[in-house]
Amino acid sequence: MSTDGLPELDPVIHAQARLRVTVALAALSNGDRIAFSRLQELVGMTAGNLSTHLRKLEDAKYVEITKTHQRRTPVTYVALTRRGRLAFEEYTSTLRELLPGGGAESGR
């Protein structure tokens, strides 16, 4: 399989861990946010690893991180921004362009 053209893919998203996180966040309805611990469960990553990748996504303004309190316990919520959702859509369409045959049946 040729990987020509892959450097054109958004490097912020094109990393196993960040891609996993972006897909998970994109699966939420628009306007929804998810607790850090639940996201961690869904993507199967360690807290440290997830924090590192979230920071990179946040630096690119793809995710928005909100810190709040629930019954005096601090809770961190994560949401995909509009920009992040658009970047993910663009990323998947570029992927499909790279795979003219196989890409057509995916992502429905």
């Binding site: 094109h14 699966a27 309805s29 607790a35 360690t46 990748h53 949401a79 998947t92």
Partner: protein, 222 residues
């Protein structure tokens, strides 16, 4: 320093760039399937449970309402009430588990929708009790409750179908709207049997309809 974990998730681009386009698409599919499994799972078992609970509750009510009273009224009331409370608790636990840790517009919409049931049935109870106090004939009381409750439940299911673009839920609402007048036409106490069987069939249909639709779609594509 390049840090990797057992899944090979490196935090440096050098490790990440080994992901080919097809691997990326496979990862997207896999994670999307996981999200669907956890967040948007069809609660098939829940609908099947409601099908059985519903039938049992109305069968008990019917047996208690018959002239020969095969089941004492108090027993039908206690058992039926316990079954409904149990069903509501199981449904609430499943719903809370699915949405745990997620906040935002959809949970607000979900809570507003949940309250529509409570508010709707409170208003319906108020109207029906007022009619009863105003001298509603005895033989019409049971059909009044079965017919009006099924109309309200049907409309709320139609609303959920429209809100969440859930066709099987919309079909269930439509079915309840057919059961409602049928129960009134059946008269008392057969109306309880109509609601019991109609409701149970509706819930069972709601449980299997998504799978049937999926098979139909995938069959049409192959």
């Amino acid at each position: 320093m390049v840090r990797t974990n057992p899944r090979g998730e490196g935090s440096e681009f050098a490790a990440d760039n080994t992901l080919s386009a097809s691997e990326s698409l496979a990862l997207i599919d896999e994670q999307q399937a996981e999200m669907r499994r956890v967040l948007h799972r069809e609660p098939t078992a829940l609908y099947l449970m409601w099908s059985v609970v519903w039938l049992a509750v109305f069968a008990l009510a019917f047996l208690a309402a018959r002239e020969d009273q095969l089941v004492p009224g108090w027993l039908a009331g206690v058992l039926g009430g316990a079954l409904i409370v149990g069903g509501v608790i199981v449904s609430a636990v499943v719903g809370i588990r699915m949405g745990y840790g997620i906040r935002g517009e959809s949970s607000v919409a979900g809570a507003m929708y949940g309250w529509s049931w409570t508010l709707g049935f409170l208003a319906l109870t108020g109207v029906n009790l007022t009619l009863m106090a105003g001298g509603m004939p005895d033989d019409l009381i049971s059909p009044l409750w079965s017919g009006s409750s099924m109309v309200l439940a049907g409309v709320l299911c139609l609303a959920a179908g429209a809100m969440f673009r859930d066709i099987p839920q919309y079909v269930l609402g439509g079915w309840f709207l057919l059961v409602a007048p049928a129960s009134v036409l059946a008269g008392s106490p057969e109306n309880l049997l109509v609601v019991g069987i109609g409701g149970a069939l509706g819930f069972a249909g709601r449980a299997v309809l998504p799978r049937l639709l999926r098979n139909l779609v995938s069959g049409g594509q192959s």
